[in-house]
């Protein structure tokens, strides 16, 4: 379904058209759900959080002035909701450590993953993202999948620029480490 610009649906929603907001949800539900899932690692909870966030967005839509992108505003609500839920659940929202170790990625791993079938590679990356720390996974998802700039990620997460960069760097490194472990285990299982 070809969607119109977000601002059109926002204006219609402000006028009281609930269907316009329904279309806005349909347009962004996958993005919203994926971000919540990357943080919470639990499908039902992620869905609940994404739904709550959309409801908050609906009730706060009059305060949206269009100074930033709608997605940035929406992701900020989702991020805060998910982090709040995570904190309530286990009180261990990952802290950002400033040390970043050097990344040594073997060419075999890269080549191996590249040579996998698309579906296998997709499953492997999803497994890797599931095992990654919540904040690293969220920042990687925002950066690569939602194509948000570092400045926008800063706005969404309220982290500083250096913290976002550290999380991106650490996330990449840890994701490669996890992928290495998964592929090694699979090889051991095959032998």
């Amino acid at each position: 379904m070809p969607y119109q610009d977000d601002l059109f649906y926002i204006e219609e929603t402000k006028k009281g058209d609930l269907n316009a907001f329904g279309i806005l949800i349909q347009k962004h539900e996958k993005y919203a759900f994926t971000l919540a899932l990357r943080i919470l690692k639990h499908r039902e909870e992620a869905e609940e959080v994404a739904q709550d966030a959309f409801m908050k967005a609906y009730y706060g839509i009059h305060s949206f002035e269009g100074n930033s992108k709608f997605t940035t505003w929406l992701y900020k609500i989702i991020f805060n909701e998910a982090v709040g839920r995570q904190r309530k659940k286990k009180n261990n929202w990952d802290l950002i450590e400033n040390e970043v170790a050097e990344t040594i990625i073997s060419q075999d791993l890269l080549g191996g993953i590249e040579n996998l079938l698309a579906q296998e590679r997709k499953e492997l990356i999803q497994k890797g993202l599931e095992r990654l720390k919540s904040n690293e996974s969220a920042v990687l998802t925002l950066f690569y999948l939602e194509e948000q700039s570092i400045k926008e990620i800063q706005e969404i997460t309220s982290y500083s620029e250096s913290q976002v960069k550290i999380l991106l760097h650490r996330g990449r490194k840890n994701l490669f480490d996890i992928l290495q472990k998964i592929t090694n285990n699979e090889l051991i299982n095959l032998l």
Partner: protein
């Protein structure tokens, strides 16, 4: 950042994009819309008193105020607000009458009631002893 690292990032970015978005349940948006619609229905308040009723009440109150302020003679105000003019409830004890009927029953009924009560008491004693023995 060296060229090799940038290449790794590009590859990782490509793979993450490839891994695509996760899909929520089919009725995801419907659930939200229904929840919003039901909340909107709940928050519609109907006034207990209709606007016409409110108008009538306020007109009455206003007219009373106007009457008190502008139409009551000022020299009578003391008399009007005096406690002497207020009728308080009173009790006239002299006019109170309590009637208690005198219960009367005939002698045969009274003696038969007494006899059956004694019999009941004796039988109770008898049965309680038998129950204790058992």
């Amino acid at each position: 950042m060296n060229k090799e690292e940038l290449n790794h990032q590009d590859q990782l970015g490509k793979w993450i994009k490839e891994s695509a978005h996760d899909h929520p349940s089919v009725n995801f948006s419907e659930t939200i819309i229904n929840a919003i619609a039901s909340q909107q229905q709940q928050t519609i308040y109907q006034p207990v008193i209709s606007p016409i009723g409110l108008g009538m009440i306020s007109t009455c109150l206003l007219s009373i105020c106007m009457y008190v302020l502008f139409f009551l003679p000022s020299d009578q105000s003391e008399e009007l607000w005096s406690l002497k003019n207020i009728q308080f409830p009173k009790i006239h004890f002299a006019e109170l009458l309590f009637f208690l009927p005198n219960p009367s029953s005939n002698l045969i009924l009274n003696s038969s009631l007494l006899a059956f009560s004694i019999l009941a008491f004796i039988s109770m004693l008898f049965w309680s002893r038998r129950i204790n023995k058992a």
